[in-house]
Subunit: 388 residues, 2 copies
């Protein structure tokens, strides 16, 4: 930053890196879209993209001709060279492993699932995961030689145990690429944030399952927290005289709004019965209590984090969608009058949300600038959120 | 990312930009510290710093000889060339403007304050602010020719009105540099996060004053939120049957723990009397209620955000430090058993926290990569946190 020549070169490099970072996070953008995201002028951007195209670092993937039929020359969409890298997402759940493979242009080019019995040992699950990747690669003729990154989502509380270190070791031995291991519920948050045409930057995601987990996306990035435990909506107190939670505290949201206490309060045996009988008074009253407790916790979080979007997912609201509607109304009622409120919706992705989110985490972790925060400790499986 | 030559050049540029970004955010680091933060090997880093030193982009600012007396050759501390840029922090409060100037090596090289009557018009305050900068520059012989950035903090609710757009226009006319305008309470959060020897990455900051404002630092960055309203701890409900808040809701934290309701509950006239009589039963009971409500709100936020540090500031806890102790105990009691809890402490900076934080916001906004989030709307002054 001394002479002006040095400054110019640094500025140019920074601009170029910025364009690549934008395309790494989201493939298939027009020059106008890149200009809007980068804050660069059209002239500067045009120089940079010409140079990157000439060097083969980026390519024209297609045009948005369909959207602009008849309005003149279609805009070219630019992306990183798809052949320049593959990204692998793995979601190791309680009963199955899911795998998805994406190219550098962000297209999912292969995927698969393999089930195992609940309670399977970690070595068994890990070998199923690695084996599934190998099988998909073989069947689809992928060499995985250009593997740029690997994200592995791990389900929360698990009787069979297993640590992130084991997961890391099992995949690192087989795949020579940077690996991110995180909670699969947090990866799902990232996938939901990215599931709109224009990715949402600030999202609260909560999942009501056997336990209650969640994830926060702030400024487009997954929040880890100091101890890797951000997004633990399940242990916010909703009832000072409530029941004892598995975490040891009393009256946590999880003692009210996880699947088991919700079924008990409704007087039904399983989620299928819950869905069928959800019009009955006792069941409705129980689900209202779930929605109100959830709404209170999410409202407080929304006042503090000011998100654009709140997503409520997991098997419980899937069985009883009214939970989302009622919690949404409770949240809206607590927002500051006259300032609007976040969009509140049910989760839109299916069982592959964890694998998709794991891939997005890899995209966000630039292969050049490794800035994905390392979890500073391994979360206690007793209290981490659960999925699948 | 096509040929390996291209990849090598890109990697090198990215590494160089990473080193510069680290020094821009925090001046005066040894090569070992830069290596730890960048994840680069000592060999790679040594090549990069040699090159940057040769080009004059960075300099050796001093050595840490004092800390290592007798332990051999002292480590060189590197920083951006201090002459290569100046950064200006301005805090426009209700009764005074504060200004601080820092060089590119992060040293505060000049500062000053000028008071104005409460309720002064915005044009008057803005001209006081611009005038103070000019006076400081003249008196200290600073040309401000190398001004790289300008952060302007603005107090919250204000009878005199005034918008961020006015502030931006007034300073932009006079200073040809990128300008960041934000709430001064949020800037204070950033300053507290940076006030330790090793800056804290994840911080909740709350300020109990005429209103209650706050700021969130996540992964070292200030959180804006979708509407620029992140950190609004004051409007979380703490009492379903509590009094009506100025925001229109009922039982907000602000109706209990802002200065005026706290004084009323304690039966005293002002903060001086509160401090003197804080051992009396009625005053203690009132302050316990403040601390318990505050503790509950911060505990829920801490469960969700998993911060490393919680800072409680503002004139109320300054007068009654027991609020911090008791709120801290309430927070600790709500954390998940066996997982530890954040450090909870009183604010440590004085009245210049807003101006210091404004400068840090400029450092974080790389002059090359403008990634400070633009607030997507101007917060309503009725509900934004207040300061000074």
């Amino acid at each position: 930053m001394s002479g002006s020549g040095g400054v110019h070169a640094l500025v140019r490099r920074a601009h170029e890196e910025r364009v690549l970072a934008i395309l790494r996070e989201r493939g298939g953008l027009s020059r106008a879209q890149i200009a809007a995201r980068s804050g660069l002028s059209r002239t500067t951007l045009s120089e940079i993209t010409s140079d990157l195209l000439a060097r083969g670092a980026i390519v024209v993937v297609n045009t948005d001709a369909r959207d602009r039929a008849g309005s003149g020359r279609p805009a070219e969409l630019l992306a990183l060279d798809p052949r320049s890298g593959q990204f692998l997402g793995v979601d190791l759940g309680h009963t199955r492993v899911r795998v998805a493979v994406a190219d550098a242009a962000h297209e999912i080019i292969a995927s698969g699932v393999e089930e195992y019995p609940p309670g399977s040992s970690w070595p068994r699950r890990l070998s199923a995961g690695v084996g599934l990747v190998d099988r998909i690669a073989r069947e689809q003729g992928l060499s995985l030689a250009a593997l740029q990154g690997l994200g592995v989502g791990v389900a929360g509380p698990d009787p069979a145990g297993g640590s992130r270190a084991d997961v890391l070791a099992a995949f690192a031995e087989r795949f020579p690429a940077p690996i991110i291991v995180d909670n699969n519920t947090r990866f799902a948050a990232l996938a939901e944030a990215a599931s709109s045409a224009e990715p949402v930057q600030d999202v609260l995601y909560v999942r009501l399952a056997d336990g209650i987990g969640g994830g926060l996306v702030v400024g487009g990035r997954l929040v880890a927290g100091a101890g890797g435990a951000a997004g633990e909506f399940g242990h916010v107190k909703v009832d000072p005289v409530g029941g004892v939670c598995r975490c040891g505290k009393r009256g946590c949201l999880e003692t009210v709004a996880a699947v088991r206490p919700a079924l008990t309060a409704a007087g039904v045996d399983d989620l299928g019965e819950l869905a069928l009988r959800r019009g009955e008074p006792r069941v409705r009253a129980a689900m209202d209590r779930v929605a109100d407790a959830l709404g209170r916790v999410l409202a407080d979080a929304a006042l503090i984090l000011n998100p654009e979007l709140i997503v409520i997912g997991g098997p419980l609201p899937f069985a009883v969608p009214e939970i989302v509607t009622r919690a949404g109304a409770a949240i809206a009622a607590e927002m500051i009058p006259g300032e609007g409120h976040p969009v509140i919706r049910a989760a839109r992705l299916g069982d592959d949300d964890g694998a998709r989110g794991a891939i997005i985490a890899c995209f966000l972790q630039s292969p050049l600038l490794a800035d994905y925060p390392e979890p500073r400790s391994v979360p206690d499986p007793r209290t981490a959120g659960s999925q699948s």
